[in-house]
């Protein structure tokens, strides 16, 4: 286990917080990391880790963000939570209608359900003027540049801008302009940033946080859109996983929804336990 690895971390929504447990486990087992490629919430977690700072401030920030915005995140929750919940009650159907409508209206009239107003000060407080060059472990953050129309890795500049971009899930938060680029999170394309892995990155360890497939008997147009989006993202992920040398598919993660911030401690703990278990089963180089 002497050769340093490239670690690939992703995950949609709050589930990306599992990366805290993964990094803690790898660190405690003495695994050397030569580079982290991260997407979504895994990016700020990896940046904190590479700045040699604890995860507590991030956990606090994410929890506060979800608490403060839960009312507006009705639409977001419907994409994951309600599809998994029992149906049929009249009250549920009415609230479901309102949630779908809220999400839809926000995305027709604006670029997203939420604005950056509440989250920006928190990200600024955490990363301030830190840049990629301050990191002790090289970090590449996967985002989509809408101007170029492709997935790119950002590896330089201010962490603040890039961390915002990595969390800008289309439909939920607006795109982030950085210089000539207009960036959004790449987790909508594929929840793991596997698109830009090169031979130099080998050996690559990818950590997958499985999501349950929610595509049975959709009732509304938005459900169909989210199912279709999920199906194509899964296909891309399965194909791109061929680029990885080692895959840790963490068991027990399906039960956590991507907007379920109450479960943050459990998500981190489950990821830690699972990574410990998988490390014992694998012989890394």
């Amino acid at each position: 286990m002497s050769e340093p690895i490239t670690l690939v971390l992703g995950g949609t929504g709050i589930k990306g917080i599992a990366s805290i447990g993964v990094l803690q486990s790898l660190h405690s087992h003495g695994i050397k990391i030569k580079k982290i490629i991260a997407a979504g919430i895994s990016a700020p977690i990896s940046a904190q880790f590479a700045l040699e700072k604890g995860p507590d401030t991030l956990i606090y920030a994410f929890t506060r963000f979800f608490e403060e915005n839960y009312g507006s995140l009705w639409g977001l929750e419907q994409l994951s939570g309600l599809l998994q919940s029992p149906r049929g009650r009249v009250g549920d159907s009415f609230s479901y209608f309102l949630r779908e409508r809220t999400y839809c209206q926000a995305n027709f009239q604006n670029e997203s359900v939420l604005s950056w107003q509440k989250l920006e000060p928190q990200i600024n407080q955490i990363f301030g003027d830190n840049t990629f060059s301050d990191l002790k472990i090289p970090l590449a953050v996967s985002v989509i540049d809408l101007k170029q129309g492709k997935n790119i890795l950002v590896q330089e500049g201010k962490l603040y801008d890039c961390m915002k971009a990595s969390m800008a899930f289309p439909g939920i938060l607006p795109p982030v302009s950085v210089g000539e680029m207009e960036l959004v999170s790449s987790t909508i394309y594929c929840d793991l940033p596997l698109d830009n892995i090169t031979r130099n990155d080998a050996p690559v360890l990818t950590v997958d946080l499985p999501m349950p497939f929610v595509g049975s008997n959709p009732r509304t147009l938005l459900e169909i859109i989210s199912i279709v989006d999920d199906i194509s993202s899964r296909a891309i992920k399965e194909k791109l996983l061929a680029n990885t040398d080692y895959l840790f598919r963490l068991e027990g993660m399906e039960k956590f929804r991507w907007g379920d911030y109450h479960q943050i401690p459990n998500i981190v703990e489950q990821a830690l336990i699972e990574t410990d278990r998988l490390l014992k089963t694998l012989t890394l180089p």
Binding site: Y96, F97, L98, E100, R101, C104, Q105, A106, N107, F108, Q109, N110, E111, S112, V113, I144, L146, K147, G149, K150, N151, P170, G171, P175, V184, I188, Y189, F213, G215, S216, N217, P218, R219, T220, L221, L222, E223, I224, I225, I227, V228, D229, D230, I231, S232, S233, R234, A235, I236, K239
Partner: protein, 280 residues
Amino acid sequence: MKVGLCLGGGGSRGYAHIGAIRALTEAGIKIDIVNGTSIGAIIGGMYALYLDVDTMTALVKKVVESVPVNHFNLFRHSTEGPVFLQNWLTEAVCDIAALNMSIQSHRNNLKALRVLFGEHRFEDTKIPFSAIATDINAGETVIIKRGKLIDGILASASIPAIFPPVARGKRLLVDGFVLANIPVTQLRRQGADFIISIELLESPNTHHQNGVDLLYYVEYLKRQKLDQWAIEQSDFHIRVDMSQFDSSHFENYIVAMERGYTAAQKVIPLLKEKLEKANV
């Protein structure tokens, strides 16, 4: 050795396939098996059934003149026109999105497909043909090669959210573009040895006005990636530049056919060379 023709999806841009098929047949290239997704399934089904480009062109003319097949994409058009109309459309779209599975019915699609295929079945085609759809209950691609042509092709062309999914047994089918817009691997599985794939190039709208535009754009990027992988599996690829075409408007079928014809004609010498090398 079986030569397969694989026709990609792309709405009204797909009339270019007819032009490309005309160029292939004029060059004496014999197609043994065909498949397609969405409009590719419509054109592929017609070719397999009639094996005659003039008949296909005449039927397309009849459909365009008699059936209002243009689909009005409320998602896009709700940002056009006067403000009061935009607001009204936005409200209407939100209500529809929260209550229904699609913004349009299949009524006109069925009318159009009846003109093209009548009561013919997959088993009636002169060469083997299959339509490609996506089962959203199982999250997988489905190859349809039995039953009535209109039923299979309707499923293959059910653009999610615009048209309702088509139920077929336990399956709930939508447009095959979700996973296999250019269904090369499916055609290989059906026995094609040398596959000619046809792609209809589109130009995405990079100027986004709202969140829905953004989601569309990301969906386009995903499709592009999946298309690229599929094309790599084909033996010969024809790219038709249809970037100026709106996929939801079907009147310009003559221009589309000409584009397809020109694009295919240009590459015929190279195709013949490759076929020769492959001992076809």
